[in-house]
Amino acid sequence: MPRSKNKFLKGLRSQLALQMIAIAGLFVLAVFAYIPMSGIIIAFKDYKSAAGFVGFFTSPWTSQNGFKHFIAFFSDPWFGRVLKNTLGISVLKLLFSFPAPIIFALALNELRLSKFKRVVQTVSYLPHFISWVVVYGLVFTFLNTQTGFVSRIMVDLGLWSEPYNFLANESTFWTLAVITDVWKELGWWSIIFLAAITGIDPGLYEAAKVDGASRWRCVWHITLPGIKGTVVVLLILALGGLFSGGMGGSNFDQTYLMGNNVNYPTSMTIGYYAYQTGILNQRYSYATAVGLFQSVISVTLVGLSNWSSKKLTGEGIV
């Protein structure tokens, strides 16, 4: 017994520098990730901001076994709206933002003009690196009613008699959110799929060529199945993000920037709702309850999709 304990201590000592570095990193996480996590507790309390940090633990528990805020949220008229918007936008994003990069990656892979390929690739990742603020600026430049590019060109070509109001309009927000998301992230996600495609054994293609298969067939029978693993992993991540906003992204920026007084019935997503009730209206406990609800559902979704994918295809993240 003493001998193995000695060995343990000795080993630890030889790694001392590494351990201290690791602990430093964990300390940062503890402060900026875990302490806020512990703040979840105020979702079950009547927290008053004057109480400061200590108030996290000293505030009184709320009525209904601490669930007062959750019940308030579920019975709030906004609850259904917020859920509908969040899920609606995320599902739409999944339907379009997910296949698009795959198709694009496949197309890029089949492209044989290498210089052109490089140009297309470089340009396609560019939108990922600009902020949502700039994207909003572009949206505004193109779609605003008086001077927007789209309105102008449609009127100039005689297709429309008058400009269409894209931005202050309930029915367009979902479409806008999805289109801007696809535009921004298409190139970026395609890199991941392209990387997966390069992992496919070239021998498979050669064998198929010998058998006289057309390139269509190669794509359908070799390339697509070859990236199945990557597709599944990313699909799991995307499904897990359904509640916060699509493939690892967030609905928040879009709602904050493109939401306005006119379209808020369709633009209010759960993340923004938490922000509004919490920081703007200062209902701290309530907003925390909303945020907690969102987190729990997200984790459950990730877990569910990981589990079901394992059952169905044998692949998963965890």
Partner: protein
């Protein structure tokens, strides 16, 4: 005969594929590039003239007034300085800290490694939400402080994981050799590991740098001091305000002097946007080849 027929059929459908593929790529190219291009030509256009419409491919009446006007905006110099400072400091600090943290966690023989990894990964999926985070920042006295831009971003789990994958690929023999020469872990990191991690560091620098340059939510939530706002945030205000400015200019109602009336929201906004993305466009081509490799490494492993 049958095989020949198949081959001809295959060749024809290959042609169709070629055309389709080129079409898709051209579509992506145009749709991605044109909005930027349009913004650039509009930003170099005289304001009043641009309002008449009809500009699609090239500025009709060239003007630098918009850019000059952007530079006259309230607090723009401040915001630019803050953004640059934040990007430089934030990238350097995050890169160093995350890098050495990832190095530590990449050792197979690290005691408690499993525990550390779990602690690292949990916050990726589950968080306390905005309000507790806001409260924490407040309690740490980081409200209205420059450091609120830097400190919370020291460790980004996603980046750390990518770096861990990369470091794991480095042959252990390199480290062993250095250990035999008597080097401690820190020295090994700086003298052995870092030099050969250039592609990784370039990639991470790009990711982190872009994050800092584009970030606006921390400026929005935690900073009220106008001197500490970032460029992104000033841009949001500009975009929203130019609605009003554009309307004023349109109806011709307003007390803007003759000189100023050539400045119009419509052309001012793209100018501001272009200035904001300029650093990214400048840095992007250099680092682009690195990060494509970096992602390939990270994802093939993951």
């Amino acid at each position: 005969m049958e095989r020949r027929k198949n081959k001809i059929r295959a060749a024809m459908s290959d042609r169709v594929l070629d055309v389709l593929v080129i079409l898709i790529c051209v579509l992506v190219l145009v749709l991605t590039f044109y909005p930027f291009f349009y913004s650039i030509i509009i930003s170099f256009s005289d304001g009043q003239d641009a309002l008449r419409g009809g500009i699609y491919l090239w500025p009709r009446k060239f003007s630098l007034e918009n850019y000059k006007a952007v530079l006259r905006i309230d607090y723009i110099y401040n915001a630019a300085v803050i953004s640059v400072l934040r990007t430089l400091v934030g990238t350097l600090v995050s890169l160093s800290f995350s890098g050495i943290f990832a190095y530590s966690l990449s050792h197979k023989n690290l005691y408690f490694k499993r525990f550390y990894m779990i602690v690292l990964i949990i916050p990726m999926y589950f968080s306390g939400g905005l309000i507790p985070y806001y409260m924490t920042i407040r309690s740490l006295h980081l409200m209205n402080s420059f450091w609120v831009y830097i400190l919370p971003n020291l460790v980004n789990a996603f980046n750390v994981i990518i770096m861990i994958s990369f470091f794991r690929e480095i042959p252990e023999s390199l480290e062993e050799a250095a250990k035999i020469d008597g080097a401690g872990y820190l020295r090994i990191y700086f003298q052995v590991i870092l030099p050969i991690s250039a592609p990784l560091m370039a990639t991470m620098a790009l990711f982190i740098g872009v994050f800092h340059w584009n970030a606006w939510t921390d400026a929005a939530f935690f900073i009220t001091d106008k001197n500490l706002k970032t460029l992104s945030f000033v841009l949001i205000n500009l975009i929203n305000q130019t609605e009003a400015a554009a309307q004023l200019a349109q109806t011709g109602v307003g007390t803007l002097g003759v000189k100023q009336s050539t400045i119009v929201g419509e052309t001012l906004r793209p100018a501001a946007m272009m200035i904001t993305i300029l650093p990214i466009i400048m840095v992007y081509p250099f680092l682009q080849k690195y990060f494509v490799k970096g992602i390939m490494i990270g994802s093939v492993k993951g």
